[in-house]
């Protein structure tokens, strides 16, 4: 599953920044300890030097023992090994009745042929308190830093990616069938986005050109086909009027004539499709769909001897604001579809209300994918007499007026529904 770039970035920072900060804190702590220990050692050495100097100057007449400060011990017996390094110890204080941590340093010294052991003390409690305080401060600062980095990253990302999102929004709004151009800023302040915008603009322009050419091609091709079709038709009319026409020839001519008629019809519809696509039906008016529907049903009943049994539920005065001839074409094609693809002794149900036109008819299931039903030249049956363009025309008109045409099949019933607005 994909997540937002911003979230990914934040997630990455939140995982790895604490790790880095923890390692840094560890190093910081170790360094801090080392430095404090070094400082304590220096202090103990200085104290040692000062006390010994006082001891020698006063010829041994100074206090030999001050708790927590120093001890001078006259070494009578054998010299035991003295570690010349600071060591941790604990001193017991009568006053507070508690033991306190100290660091001590012992040195063997000689004066007047006597050996002395001088031990100096310094409290390590304050130092460790200091270390803890410094370390806590550092931890708080690092935590603040972590938050600041994440927040700043979010803010800067939002600002930086703004051109990207605005480009994406424009592409999302882009509809090739409306042949609109996409204008993107060429100076976003980010070189990558400038390039992206340039590439996108180029692509949109190419797409528009390709789409325009394709539309133009269909329209031109249909136009150019009109004349050859007219020639074939006129020659056929001359042929069928030839004297001594045999029955065999007549049947051949009848087939040619029928095929030519179908070709003319298809060509006419393709031209119509191209014209709708090219927005050549701009004028709209208020069309009474209920009246139109009833009129067309009555006409169809006149034309078809075996018009299927019809159930009608038509709400009066359903008005649409559209081009009258296009709505006429749409409804006619839907009705024709329901009649032609019906089964013998089939039924039709027509329901119209303010927002929806539903035309249902009985019939065997489709041989093609229902999603392709509204595509050009997709036929749900192998009925050769149909052009395969009727529903494409319906969809084209629906697209023009933002109607939605849907198809469903259920239990021997085909349902085509057109939802307005």
């Amino acid at each position: 599953m994909s997540i937002k770039l911003l979230q990914r970035n934040t997630r990455f920072l939140l995982v790895w920044l604490p790790v880095v900060l923890l390692i840094c804190s560890g190093i910081f702590f170790v360094m801090l300890r080392m430095h404090t220990q070094h400082m304590q050692e220096k202090q103990l050495l200085l104290k040692q030097m000062n006390i010994w100097k006082a001891f020698v100057d006063k010829a041994g007449n100074i206090e030999k023992h001050i708790e927590g400060e120093y001890d001078i011990v006259e070494e009578a017996g054998a010299l035991h090994n003295v570690v010349d390094e600071p060591m941790d110890t604990v001193l017991y204080y009568e006053v507070g009745k508690k033991s306190l941590p100290f660091t001590m340093l012992t040195k063997k010294l000689s004066w007047n042929n006597e050996n002395y052991l001088l031990t100096t003390y310094t409290s390590s409690r304050e130092i460790s308190h200091l270390v803890i305080k410094v370390f806590t401060t550092e931890a708080v600062i690092l935590l603040l830093l972590l938050i600041a980095i994440v927040v700043l990253n979010q803010i800067s990302s939002r600002a930086l990616w703004k051109p990207f999102f605005s480009t994406m929004q424009k592409l999302d709004d882009f509809d090739v069938t409306k042949s609109q151009s996409v204008k993107l800023p060429s100076e976003t302040g980010t070189k990558e986005f400038d390039e992206l915008n340039k590439v996108v603009e180029g692509m949109v322009a190419n797409t528009n050109t390709a789409y325009h050419n394709q539309k133009q091609f269909v329209e031109n091709a249909s136009h150019e086909m009109q004349t050859p079709l007219a020639i074939i038709r006129s020659k056929l009319e001359l042929l069928i009027n030839q004297p001594n026409l045999t029955e065999r020839n007549a049947s051949l001519l009848a087939d040619i004539s029928e095929a030519n008629n179908r070709l003319s019809q298809m060509n006419r519809i393709l031209l119509l499709l191209a014209k709708i696509e090219n927005n050549q039906f701009p004028e709209t008016e208020s069309v009474n769909l209920s009246g139109l529907l009833k009129k067309l049903i009555a006409e169809f009943k006149n034309h078809y001897d075996d018009f299927p049994e019809t159930t009608m539920n038509i709400k009066d005065d359903v008005m649409l604001n559209a081009n009258r001839s296009l709505i006429d074409i749409m409804v006619t094609n839907l009705l024709k579809n329901a009649i032609v693809h019906n089964k013998p002794l089939g039924k039709i149900k027509i329901t119209l209300n303010q927002s929806n036109l539903l035309i249902e008819n009985t019939g065997s299931s489709l041989t093609i994918n229902p999603d392709e039903l509204f595509e050009r030249f997709k036929k749900g049956s192998h009925e050769t007499k149909t052009t395969g363009l009727g529903l494409a025309l319906v969809r084209q008109i629906c697209n023009l007026y933002q109607f939605t045409a849907t198809y469903s099949y259920d239990n021997d019933w085909h349902r085509i529904s057109v939802t307005f607005a």
Partner: protein
């Protein structure tokens, strides 16, 4: 009757000329704007069949010139453009009728005859074939002075066949003539057959027999 056909597509021009020569028109055909201008300047025609897209000029310009010089030759535009706008523009320029390619020659014939009748017939316009009289003004039919009651479609069918008498008329041409744009929505042209059957029966009832023949599967022919 004199007919001028202006059409740049040679093959189509030939078809039209051949068809209308058989109809006893005196036909002339030209393929270019310049030739057409010369003809129009020198002669008067009863009807001009005009293609809009000519190689060296627009048919509409020609029509404009014609009307400017106060000539009232009947003009029928034949064009591959079939939008309503094109038709309105053509008619505004002074055309009498507009036909979209591909058209049936029988339809063009019917339009020409209607145009000529409109121009030259004053008062009551009656087509007479033997004892059959078709009053085109009141759209009524009589046989031996007995009225034959026809539906609108049957009347249109009879008038169409009369206009194209002694010719085989294609079923599709009849269908398109009667139903116009609605023809595309017909599942078959069986209804033409039933209209013809009804018409023949009504005429037979009044004693008019064998006027209309079926020509194999192709179409119908009204013979006199």
């Amino acid at each position: 009757m004199k007919l001028l056909v202006i059409e740049d597509e040679h093959s189509l021009l030939q078809s039209i000329l051949e068809y209308f020569t058989q109809e006893d028109f005196r036909c002339e055909g030209v393929a270019t704007y310049s030739d057409a201008i010369k003809r129009i300047d020198y002669f008067d025609y009863d009807c001009i069949i005009l293609d809009i897209n000519l190689p060296d000029g627009s048919g509409l310009k020609l029509l404009e010139d014609l009307r400017k010089s106060k000539k009232d030759d009947g003009v029928i535009i034949i064009s591959a453009r079939d939008s309503l706008d094109d038709k309105i523009v053509g008619l505004n320029y002074g055309a009498d009728d507009y036909l979209t390619k591909p058209f049936h020659l029988s339809e063009l014939n019917a339009r020409i005859k209607a145009l000529i009748r409109r121009k030259y017939t004053k008062g009551v316009d009656i087509l007479e074939v033997g004892n059959l009289k078709v009053n085109l003004s009141s759209r009524t039919v009589t046989y031996n002075d007995r009225s034959v009651a026809l539906t609108k479609n049957e009347y249109d069918l009879l008038a169409y066949l009369l206009n194209n008498k002694n010719r085989v008329v294609d079923k599709q041409a009849i269908a398109e003539h009667i139903y116009g744009d609605q023809t595309d929505n017909m599942p078959s042209f069986d209804f033409v057959y039933s209209h013809v059957k009804n018409l023949k029966k009504k005429l037979k009832d009044k004693g008019c027999e064998d006027l209309i023949q079926t020509v194999y599967g192709l179409g119908y022919k009204l013979t006199i």
